[in-house]
Symmetry: C2
Subunit: 331 residues, 2 copies
C-alpha cells in the first residue's frame, strides 16, 4: 500500500482512476410531503452509472471515512451544515460545487477511493443494497489505529529518532500552513465584503453625483453645452458600471482562492489528531525497552511495535502526494 | 463694456490677452529674520517682467476685487488660509498650484484683468510704486453697486418682468450647481480617503498573507515546489504593488476633479450676494412708480433706475462667458 516514489514514500496508486460528477440537484420529499430535502446525482466516470445522495448521506460517508482512515489519512471536512436557506438556489449551487470538490479529492486518493465503503456509496444498485452496505460499514472494525495493520510499506523499518523528528516537522509545517491559510481566509473575507459592500456603493455615489451635476448644467438654458453634459453623464454611467464590475469580480477570482483555502482548512484540521496518534505510538515504543526488561512483552512484540510505528511514519509521509498542494495558485 | 454675443450678452473682450505664471516659491524674512514668509514669483506673459508677492498680498487683491466688482462679477475665493504647516514643501506646492489657477481665471476675465488694481498688482516697478498703488486702490470709491454706473451695454433696456425672471433663473441654477458641486466634493473626498487609507492597507494584507503562505510552503522540505512558491510570492508582491497604485491614483486624476470643483465652489459662493443686489434694485424700481406719483422722484430719475437695473441684468448674464463651465470634465 506504500511505496517509495520520486519525492519519498507514497501510496501505491491503483492502475485505473475515476472521477465522480455531482450534478442535477432535485427537491425530493418523504413522509407524504412532510419532509423536503435536496438530492444530488452522482455519476462515476468509470461506470457511467448514477446514484442519488442527500447531504446527510455525504455526512454519513465522511464520518465513516474519518473513523476508518482518520488517523492515517487526512479526510477533509465536508462543506458546513446549514439550517436556514437550505432550499435557496444560490446555496444549493454553492453546496453542490463544494461537494463536487470534496468528491474529486476523495476519488483522487488511492486508498480512500478503493475502499469498500466509498465504492459502495457510489455503486449500490438499489435501496436494499445501500441499506445493507451501510450496516456493514458501520460494523467495520478495522478503524482508528487498526488501519495501520493493513498497510505494508515496501521499505525498511525506520529509525525511531528520525521518525520523531519527521513527525515534529510535519506538525510544525501543518500548523504554520493552517495559520497561513486562516490569515488568507480572513483577509479574503474582508476583501469580499468591501468589494460587494462599501466600494461599489461609493462608485455608485460618484456616478450619481456626476450625473446630477450634468442634469443641473442642462437646466442652465445655454446652448453649446450638450456635448459637455453628454460627457459628464457618460462618465457618471461609467462609474456606475465600475460599481457593478467591482461587486461582481470576487465571484470570478477571489471565489476560487477562498474555496481552495476552505478545503485546505478542512484538510489541515485533521493533522492534530493524526500527529497525536503518531506521538502516542512513538511514546509506547520508547517505553517498550522497560517492558521487555521486566518481561511484560517479548522482544518480538517490541519489534512489531517498531514496525507498526515505521508503517505509520510512511503513511504520514505519504500525505503530500495526495494533492494537498495542488491548485493553491488558482487566483 | 457689455455687448451682445453669440450666446447672449457678454463683456467686451480686450484685443490682447495675457496670462500670469506663478512660480518659484522662496522663503523670505523680515524684521531681522524674526518673521518668515513664502514669496511667489509672478511673471506676465505680455511683459515678461516679474514681481514677487506673498499670500497675504493675494488676499489683499482678492478683498479689493471683491469690494469693487463683487456685486457684478463673481470673484472666486482664494485658496484657504492655513496656520500650521505653512513651510512644508507639499503645502507650498499645492498653494502655488491653487494661486496659479486663481490668477489664470482672473487674467481671463475681460473686466478684472483690465482693471487698474489688477494691473498695478502685476506691474509695479518698485516697493514705492506698489505702496502708492495700494493706497490708491484702497481709496477707490467706485465700489459695490457703483460699478454698474461704469458699464455701458450696447443694447436696449430690458423689460423688468423679464429681468426678474432671469434673475430667479440664475439664482436657481447657481444654487443647484452649488449643491451638485458640493455633493461631488463630498463623495470625491470620501473616495480619496478610502483610496489612500483602508483600500491599499487591505491589498497589502492580501499580499502579505500570500507571501507568508509561500514562506510556509518553502519550509515543507519537499522538492518541486519552488515554482509554486515563486508564483505565490510574485502574486503577493503584485498585490503590494496594487496597494501602491491604488494609493497613488487619486493624485493623478481625482486631484484635478477636486481642484476644479473647489474653484467652482469658490465661484458659486459669490452668487447669493450678487443676486440679492439685483433683487434689491428690482424692488426699488417696482416702488419707483409710487415715488413718481408722490413727486418724490422725477420720471427721469425712474428712467435712470430702469437703465441701471437693465445694465445690472446684462452684467449678470455676462457671467457664463467668463469661463465658469470650462474644464468640468477634467476627470
Amino acid at each position: 500500500m506504500v511505496q517509495i516514489g520520486d519525492y519519498g514514500p507514497m501510496w501505491v496508486y491503483p492502475t485505473s482512476t475515476f472521477d465522480c460528477v455531482v450534478a442535477d440537484p432535485k427537491k425530493g420529499s418523504k413522509m407524504y410531503g412532510l419532509k423536503s430535502y435536496i438530492e444530488y446525482q452522482l455519476t462515476c466516470t468509470n461506470t457511467n452509472r448514477s446514484v442519488n445522495h442527500r447531504y446527510k448521506h455525504f455526512d454519513w460517508l465522511y464520518e465513516r471515512l474519518l473513523v476508518k482512515f482518520g488517523l492515517a489519512i487526512p479526510i477533509p471536512s465536508l462543506p458546513d451544515k446549514q439550517v436556514t436557506g437550505r432550499f435557496e438556489e444560490e446555496f444549493i449551487k454553492m453546496r453542490m460545487e463544494r461537494l463536487q470538490a470534496w468528491m474529486t479529492r476523495m476519488c483522487r486518493h488511492p486508498v480512500v477511493s478503493e475502499s469498500e465503503v466509498f465504492q459502495q456509496f457510489l455503486n449500490f444498485r438499489d435501496e436494499k443494497e445501500w441499506k445493507t452496505g451501510k450496516r456493514k460499514a458501520e460494523k467495520d472494525e478495522t478503524v482508528g489505529v487498526m488501519i495501520f495493520s493493513t498497510m505494508e510499506p515496501e521499505a525498511p523499518d525506520l529509525d525511531m529518532v528520525e521518525i520523531e523528528q519527521k513527525c515534529d516537522a510535519v506538525g510544525r509545517f501543518t500548523k504554520a500552513m493552517d495559520d497561513g491559510v486562516r490569515e488568507l481566509l480572513t483577509v479574503g473575507h474582508e476583501h469580499w465584503k468591501r468589494c460587494t459592500g462599501p466600494l461599489p456603493k461609493e462608485y455608485q455615489k460618484i456616478g450619481k453625483a456626476l450625473q446630477s451635476l450634468a442634469l443641473v448644467f442642462s437646466t442652465s438654458g445655454y446652448q453649446g453645452e450638450s456635448d459637455l453634459n453628454g460627457a459628464i453623464t457618460e462618465a457618471g454611467k461609467t462609474y456606475e458600471e465600475i460599481a457593478t464590475l467591482v461587486a461582481d469580480q470576487p465571484k470570478k477570482d477571489l471565489h476560487f482562492l477562498m474555496e481552495t483555502n476552505h478545503e485546505y482548512k478542512g484538510f489541515l484540521g485533521c493533522f492534530p489528531d493524526i500527529i497525536a496518534a503518531h506521538k502516542g505510538a512513538i511514546e509506547r515504543v520508547k517505553e517498550s525497552d522497560k517492558l521487555v526488561a521486566t518481561s511484560k512483552i517479548t522482544p518480538q512484540d517490541k519489534q512489531n511495535m517498531v514496525k507498526r510505528v515505521s508503517t505509520m511514519a510512511y503513511a504520514l509521509q505519504g500525505k503530500p502526494n495526495s494533492g494537498l498542494n495542488d491548485n493553491v495558485v488558482d487566483l
